[in-house]
């Protein structure tokens, strides 16, 4: 679906040599502003931010996030302060009392909390009971959303990660062919983009808003890139023929990625929001503030802007933003908590609840910034957030007792628990009634149910793996 629309930005740039934000022209929209002039509906978008922490630190049963009051206009606990600061609490629903069981049940995980629980939540499939451990057992939520929404955007999906550390377990998975010593079909983690500079390059290299005025230089660069990839494909074919089966599979995968990139370069960029523009980022990542301590605020700021613009420019409709990879990446360092140490071992396990609350507030603020930006990005008669389901999923909740049937790792640590978990769902797509606290304590609803509720709002099948259903209270 290629849409050529009148770009006011291009017209204004041509007339005055500068670009300024403009309201959407009426001719871009249907008469009621709820669809594009060509009749295409406004895009629906899925966004998920994954926070690699629990609610409580080791030994603690108190936390500063979950609102006390249920219903609309919930109280702002200390960790949620960014919602108030950025005036987005009315746009975000908080869902508490969720439960992922450390049992062989739908969406359950097998004892090892870090190893299996995120896989279970992100796939909706029980994890660690059969097949290869340390492997997800199904597609992740973003890939299922991709399959069901089937957008024809330049990027089928984007997967970014705030922390720069690579390795460890990620939160986006795809199906692939197993090597000869594996099952025929396995699921592997998708590598996240951890560099905001590279993410910018990926989105905006060769970018120009659709225009009636041709850009010869941009067209030449597009030809250059496509010709290089064409030659690379021929090279892959020649090398492929000389290799054994496993190596051929590696090249098959490489070829698939090249083709994907080729499609993106060939695609045109649609402009949905008048906010769509090239943010002109620098070509380098913010330098670390000290050895192995990234400037996380600066990095997050760049990712936040790219998420907004990728949606505003309709480059993609599906984005996952990981906080840090599970396990390895959970040693995430941040100037905000570097005086304590790494996020996992020191902040979550060996520090105070106040320290963990402060770290959680940092992640909540990143989410709040994205909601704030999407809300401020006009689209049709409303804004991007109106057409988005934006999730915030945490790795864990809080155990209340040493119950091996409710907490992982034998139940000894409330930190290692998928019990009493909290998630956020923002946006108003599909009739979501944002701005309420829905307390589900006692119902043992799986955290994945919040994701399937987002699916429902997006108009796609509300199921993921073994989990299905909708939290009705989240709709108006």
């Amino acid at each position: 679906m290629k849409r050529l629309r009148l770009s006011r930005r291009a017209l204004i740039r041509g007339a005055f040599g500068t670009a300024i934000a403009l309201p959407t022209l009426e001719c871009m929209l249907s008469p009621n502003g709820e669809a594009l002039a060509g009749g295409d509906p406004l895009p629906k978008r899925y966004f998920l931010m994954y926070c690699p922490t629990s609610l409580v630190t080791s030994g603690s049963h108190e936390e500063g996030l979950t609102p006390v009051n249920a219903g609309f206009g919930y109280d702002i606990r200390p960790v949620l302060q960014p919602f108030a600061d950025r005036q987005v609490s009315a746009d975000i629903s908080v869902i508490s009392g969720l439960f992922a069981a450390p049992l062989d049940v739908p969406g359950g995980y097998n004892v090892d909390y870090h190893g299996q629980a995120p896989y279970a939540v992100m796939t909706g499939k029980r994890s660690g009971f059969s097949g290869t451990t340390w492997r997800p057992q199904g597609w992740s939520a973003d890939q299922i959303a991709l399959q069901r929404l089937a957008p024809t955007t330049k990027f089928p999906f984007l997967y970014y990660q705030l922390d720069s550390q690579t390795g460890g377990m990620v939160v986006s998975y795809e199906e692939t062919t197993g090597f000869e010593d594996e099952d025929p079909i396995v699921y592997r983690g998708i590598e996240p983009q951890t560099s905001p500079a590279l993410a910018y390059n990926q989105l905006f290299t060769g970018f120009s808003p659709p225009s009636d005025m041709p850009d010869p230089q941009a067209e030449l660069e597009r030809r250059l890139r496509l010709s290089s990839l064409s030659y690379a494909k021929d090279g892959i074919g020649a090398l492929h023929a000389r290799l054994g089966v496993n190596d051929q599979r590696t090249l098959d995968e490489h070829l698939e990625r090249v083709r994907e990139l080729e499609k993106r370069i060939e695609a045109t960029t649609g402009v949905v929001s008048p906010n769509c523009h090239d943010p002109m980022h620098q070509g380098v990542d913010p330098p670390d503030v000290s050895t192995d301590v990234p400037d996380q605020d600066a990095r997050a700021g760049l990712f936040v802007e790219l998420v907004e613009l990728a949606f505003a420019c309709d480059m993609t409709r599906i984005i996952t933003l990981g906080g840090a990879s599970v396990m390895t990446g959970s040693g995430m360092r941040n100037p905000a908590w570097n005086h304590i140490g790494g996020l996992h071992g020191e902040v979550q396990h060996a520090s105070t609840q106040a320290d963990l609350d402060a770290a959680n507030r940092w992640f909540v603020d990143v989410y709040a910034r994205i909601i704030e930006r999407c809300k401020a990005t006009p689209e049709g008669a409303g804004n991007v957030l109106d057409n988005t389901a934006a999730l915030f999923i945490m790795e864990g909740g809080k155990g209340l007792t040493a119950d091996p049937n409710r907490s992982g790792d034998g139940g000894a640590d409330p930190n290692h628990s998928g019990d009493n978990a909290v998630a956020f769902l923002a946006g108003r797509v599909g009739g979501l009634a944002a701005g309420q606290h829905v307390n589900l304590t006692g119902q043992d609803l799986h955290p994945t149910t919040v994701i399937t509720t987002a699916f429902q709002a997006l108009g796609i099948d509300p199921s993921l793996g073994e989990i299905s259903g909708v939290i009705d209270q989240l709709f108006g």
């Binding site: 550390q165 010709s227 054994g244 000290s290 790494g342 060996a350 930190n415």
Partner: protein, 533 residues
């Protein structure tokens, strides 16, 4: 040690020609490896810098290689070298980054028309592009990037692909250099750059012998971390390299400054002292300089050289500030200063002692012990039972002594692992997370620190004692790590390892001799290929 293959001993008995002599491949019993090991980001960076003079392009465009990975055999998360082939999946992020890198390098280098002409050895004389000059450029740059001569077919195909770009309206009078830009980009995104193909010839079932260019490439990336020079490629284009030829090439390459630099890179990746967790930038810089000086000294080759002083050195290179930090007499300026009787070598450096994921300056003996056991003793620390929350650490009750809490913790299902790693960690406990000596616990000064640990049944107290008792194991472990680094595999085979250890011992721990032994071993010219080609 010469090993004949079983396959070489099997043949027809009786008439006919006598069987071929056994092939000495050095890879008997080893596991299959990929025929297309992918270069690490560091290696791509060096390659681009060497060919185009553009520094840091890979670092700007590619994600770093993982520092840890889950070993599928043990399911344990292990520290890995950036060369490990198993971590190199062709993700979308990688392919996108490679194309972005190609775009940047092609754009920047092609704008420098003098540099383009110099690399090609010609200046274009026809419009919109000079085909013969473009071909010369492709052969020159491509040969370096792909580490082999390009075939006529490959060159012609590339000219056919990028030649039309020269006539693009936006190219103007710079048509030739636009075609060059396209050629550079295509050469970089081609699989031939990032996948260092080792297809070779089958010399016995399941074993291939690398051809000249493949051998020279292996040597260059192992000994230098970058692409072969034109001189090496020229040599590779000649007659088949004999053992003597390879030994001569290895000596020549190790004598090059790039050889010393690569040995330093290996030590950084193995011991990881570049990632020291010290928040005081000035102190961190002093610690890094201290360790760099010792590593450089231990890697010096020739008479009197001794790599083991990396661990046994009785003096250290300190600034006045660092000496004061350690509680040593401060020199007037940065210089080598003698240790007291408990410290020795790098294990006493703040850089290394800060690496055990300490909480501020306080140590976590289990983690420090596990680090030392893995990196220096090559002990496999398997993951804990699934019902153990390993990352909780050991909780020390208020007013309790740390050692008592750890002792109590090391019981039941935890005992097996903690008796190993805590034993090692507590031997270093008199040194805090910044390398300072102490005799009482930081959080509870009423508790004295005994500072005695153990490796197996052998007790030790402090870095010097540890090294005195375990130097042989440490040196063997260094060999094992180097072979992993070189082979890009999870583990080194026993036979190959024994040969390298013998060579290292025989050289009185000259690290250059060890590098030479790895590169000249028959196994370095062969590869086990598990799947028929």
């Amino acid at each position: 040690m010469s090993i004949a293959t079983l396959a070489g001993c099997v043949g027809d008995i009786g008439g006919g020609d006598p069987p071929d002599p056994p092939v000495e491949t050095g890879v008997q019993g080893e596991t299959p490896t990929t025929a297309i090991p992918r270069l690490s980001r560091r290696e791509i960076d060096r390659t681009i810098a060497d060919v185009f003079g553009i520094v840091g392009a890979a670092e700007r465009n590619l994600a770093p290689d993982p520092k840890t990975a889950v070993n599928p055999t043990t399911t344990a998360e292990e520290e890995v070298f950036d060369t490990l082939a198993a971590t190199k999946t062709p993700s979308q992020v990688f392919v996108d980054g490679l194309e972005s890198l190609a775009f940047e390098v092609a754009r920047d280098f092609s704008f420098d028309t003098a540099a383009v002409d110099a690399l090609a050895g010609c200046t274009p004389v026809t419009q919109p592009f000079d085909e013969s000059c473009l071909a010369a450029f492709i052969r020159s740059a491509g040969g370096r990037l792909w580490r082999r001569p390009l075939s006529d077919q490959e060159v012609d195909a590339l000219i056919t692909t990028v030649g039309p770009l020269a006539s693009d309206p936006a190219a103007g009078a710079a048509g030739h250099y636009v075609a060059v830009r396209g050629a550079i980009s295509a050469l970089i995104v081609s699989p031939e750059l990032v996948y260092r193909a080792e297809i070779g010839d089958v010399v016995e079932p399941g074993v291939v012998k690398l051809d000249n260019h493949e051998v020279v490439s292996r040597l260059a990336y192992f000994l230098w971390g970058t692409t072969p020079t034109p001189e090496l490629l020229e040599r590779a284009a000649g007659p088949e390299l004999s053992d003597e030829d390879i030994a001569a090439l290895v000596d020549q390459m190790l004598a090059d400054p790039r050889g010393v630099q690569q040995m330093q890179v290996f030590h950084e990746l193995w011991l990881r002292y570049t990632s020291l967790l010290v928040t005081d930038a000035a102190l961190a810089a002093d610690m890094r300089a201290e360790t760099d000086a010792l590593v450089a000294r231990s890697l010096a080759s020739g008479a009197g050289s001794d790599w083991s002083q990396l661990f046994t050195a009785e003096e250290t290179y300190v600034t006045p500030a660092l000496a004061t930090h350690y509680g040593m007499p401060a020199p007037a300026q940065a210089s080598w200063v003698g240790y007291d009787e408990t410290r020795a070598g790098i294990l006493s450096h703040g850089s290394f002692l800060s690496l055990s994921q300490t909480k501020l300056t306080e140590t976590l003996p289990s983690r420090r012990g596990a680090m030392v056991a893995r990196r220096l003793l090559c002990q496999a620390i398997l993951p804990p039972p699934p019902d153990v929350a390993v990352d909780m650490g050991v909780t020390v009750p208020e007013d309790a002594c740390k050692s008592d809490a750890y002792e109590a913790h090391a019981s039941g299902t935890c005992a097996g692992c903690h008796n190993v790693i805590d034993g090692v960690g507590f031997g270093f406990e008199r040194y805090d997370g910044l390398g300072r000596y102490r005799e009482v616990e930081q959080d509870n000064p009423a508790c004295g620190i005994e500072g005695v640990g153990n490796v197996g049944a052998q007790a030790f107290a402090g870095p010097r004692d540890f090294v005195d008792q375990n130097l042989e194991t440490i040196s063997e472990c260094a060999v094992e790590h180097l072979v992993r680094f070189a082979t890009r595999d999870w583990r080194a085979s026993g036979d190959r390892l024994e040969r390298m250890i013998a060579a290292f011992d025989g050289s009185s721990h000259d690290f250059t001799a060890l590098m030479r032994a790895v590169a000249t071993d028959p196994s370095f010219r062969h590869r086990v290929d598990g799947v028929p080609q």
